[in-house]
């Protein structure tokens, strides 16, 4: 018997205003268990606003947001969610890598209790997974942009989430970091984690995206496979082939994708 995949995140008819102006208008989006959804759109299309509304960081004027079956307002099981914010928005300088990553365990920790051995082990594993083990004790301010981005991914992974939400994890980082990120995401997806990732361009992650949602001017103009947008679709191993060449491909197709998105 075929079991309908469970929905981990769902929003219906979402309207969000900021400073009196509508930023999102009647947006509906969902992510199912084990699915990788890319949220695409140009600057100012409302991608980040949508992500932050879905996580309850911004209030919405109309519509519903449901996380793992409960309304976002009443949602308490935050350990199931791993959030990777935009790198530019954080002020983590002065902290060590392992301190930042340990903050990702907080949803699973109780007040006034020190970090347990199991917590420590999970933090180490998350750091190792993104390849920062040598930098455990390094000041975050001394990491490169790509390393800082991977650090934010490790912090989200330290909570062992069922849903990973990433806000532009590939912007402004070089190919090597994008490759590491793609590998990490492939492993998580294989383990059943769901992924919602905001991207400015599909780039090196194209190979692992199951579905693309395209926002334009606060509305959803496409929701379906990447291929439907004229995108050459790679298999799961898509990230393994020659990078310099494939990224060019992706860049070009991402442009057509976004260009085409304006006229649905």
């Amino acid at each position: 018997m075929l079991v309908e995949p469970q929905t981990v995140l769902a929003a219906a008819d979402l309207t969000v205003e900021r400073g009196g102006l509508p930023v999102l208008r009647g947006v509906s989006i969902s992510v199912r268990t084990g699915e990788a959804v890319a949220l695409l759109g140009g600057n100012g299309s409302g991608k980040s606003t949508l992500i932050r509304t879905l996580l309850g960081l911004l209030p919405h004027r109309r519509g519903t947001v449901t996380l793992f079956g409960s309304p976002v307002r009443d949602f308490r099981d935050w350990a199931r969610i791993g959030y990777v914010p935009q790198r530019s928005l954080t002020t983590l300088g002065g902290s060590k890598v392992k301190e930042v990553v340990a903050a990702g365990r907080l949803a699973r920790r109780r007040l006034f209790r020190p970090l347990s051995r199991a917590d420590r082990d999970t933090v180490q594993k998350a750091i190792a997974l993104v390849g920062l083990s040598e930098h455990r004790d390094t000041d975050v301010a001394r990491l490169s942009g790509g390393q800082q981005q991977r650090l934010l991914v490790a912090r989200a992974l330290a909570g062992e989430p069922d849903l990973l939400v990433l806000d532009e994890p590939t912007s402004g980082v070089d190919l090597e970091h994008q490759r590491v990120l793609a590998e990490v995401l492939v492993r998580l997806l294989a383990a059943g984690t769901s992924v919602l990732v905001v991207l400015h361009e599909v780039g090196s992650l194209a190979g692992l995206i199951d579905r693309a949602v395209v926002l334009s001017d606060g509305r959803i103009v496409h929701d379906g496979p990447l291929g439907d947008l004229g995108q050459h679709r790679h298999g799961m191993g898509g990230h393994q082939h020659d990078h310099a060449e494939s990224l060019d491909d992706h860049d070009r197709s991402a442009e057509t994708l976004l260009g085409g998105a304006i006229e649905p």
Binding site: L57, P85, L92, S95, A103, F112
Partner: protein
Amino acid sequence: MIEILSYPFMQRALIAALLTGLIAPAIGTYVVQRRLSLLGDGLGHVALAGVGLALLTGAAPIPIAVAACVAGAVVVEILRQRGKATGDVGLAVLFYGGLAAGVFLSGISGVGAGGLAQYLFGSLTTVTASDLTLIAVLTVVILVTTLGLAPQLYAVSTDEEFAHTQGLRVRLYHIAVVSLAAVTVALAMRTVGLLLVSALMVVPVAAARNLVHGFAATLLCAIGIGVTTAVGGAAASFYVDAAPGAFIVLLAIAVFLLSWPISYLLRRRDAATVLPELVDDDELITPHTITEDHPHQHAPGCGHPAVQHGDHTDFIHEGHRHAIHADHYDEH
């Protein structure tokens, strides 16, 4: 040192200084992390309104100042969270309102603004036993919170939105931090004084940031600097007959100034031992330049300084670096 311990007023002064040195940097670390370094200064003005009220009603000044300060801090924080206190104007109005109210109330009470001076600049040597009990109780509360809830407070003061997605009640923690800062300020009016307490919340933290890496280390180092300068300043001021509050703050600033050259030296030492990683930019492989005929055999302890360069060791050789590669050396 023995001599000053024989005076009960100096014993109380030293204990009060010790406790202030403990709590001001402990809470200050979170305040500085949130870039609210001048919060303490502003709250000091609000505390004056409490002192004025105490002078008018004849009540003990510390409890009233604590209450006024906490109320002011919570109002400011709520205004900030609701986005109402855009710019500094709202805060300035509240703070100078506090100062004006303090001067006004003390004037009505007949004491005059001069009566406020001991609170502005501290009066360590007039700390009473009951003052000390109150300070000690609040010190325990502040230390239990700032150290026991360090992981949570760290998360909300470094990355508010991420802390929210960890299920933390971010607003509540923010209110807790500013309230504790308010309590610290009100307590410090008996030690370093309201005008200088902000310095003890900020300066040891700034110095610690130069001296050590990591948030936990900064917190502990700042407390260490705070305690040392507070007790040292209080004791020294007894011998040179100086104002203890001012002495303590000047000592803390001296430590801060010294931390700059020390951090420079520490950084240079770090930089000399580890060169930037190669691991992360495999694309940029060091060009393969083979050294000219090089009879010397590099090995650890060969006399050429060895430096870690990514996954291998380079030997510094007359201004350039040699890396062992098969049977020859590469120029790195």
